[in-house]
Symmetry: C2
Subunit: 137 residues, 2 copies
């Protein structure tokens, strides 16, 4: 059961420290509503690849385009919304119970993901019909 | 006081999941000897920029070249060692009490850093003479 909707998705401004040596982005405690238990990243993604296609029952995730850009299609079971991530200082906070798909990766793009839990297959909903059921019950 | 030396530095193999949709690297619990309290990243770094130039009293850090490459010069107060990071599946674990400098960033490179603590200025040693004193006492 998850009452989250597209409206619960947030774009978080990641503090950016700029000087002549480049930019530094920092993510720590109060910026995101969870402790970071897992860090993963997508790289060398072919431009026609499609990733994601799942929802989480409990875990929250923050997605950041550290290099290049890609689209995230978010779906709460009723409404779909597409967001292009292309800036290292913008994080997409995806609450539990939101189906996500990633596509249109630009050449050399890198998607950083911070997750609220370690990998746990039982937290994944990988079948869209199961997701619809999860949202309704 | 810190007895760490260059020998305590480790290159960690980050699990890489490869398929036709690209590569996925994952860092969680047992891979690194600390809980992730802070995630930061360097980007848009000019190729002639020099970064780092500090040591930590308590914090441990893992550095990963998520895109492009850069050199890390490590110094334990007696011995210096230079490592080129250029692969997203190799993490450089820097223990406490090691002076580090980053340079030779390739165009578009991204340096991801996972740290064992939140930002705390008092944990930084930013003056090399203070670092030498720290290592000796």
């Amino acid at each position: 059961m998850s009452y989250t909707t597209i409206k619960n998705i947030k774009i978080i401004d990641i503090p950016k420290h700029t000087d002549e040596r480049g930019n530094l982005g920092v993510i720590e405690k109060e910026l995101i509503p969870f402790a970071i238990k897992r860090v993963y990243y997508l790289y060398d993604v072919p431009s026609d690849a499609y990733r994601g296609g799942h929802a989480h029952k409990e875990q929250l995730e923050l997605l950041v385009a550290l290099s290049g850009s890609f689209n995230v299609i978010l779906d709460d079971g009723e409404v779909k919304h597409s967001i292009t991530l292309k800036k290292p200082n913008k994080g997409l906070l995806i609450p539990t119970g939101i189906w996500r798909e990633l596509e249109d990766f630009s050449s050399g793009s890198v998607c950083l993901v911070l997750a609220s839990g370690v990998f746990d297959e039982s937290d994944y909903i990988r079948d869209y019909k199961d997701f619809e059921l999860f949202k309704r019950t």
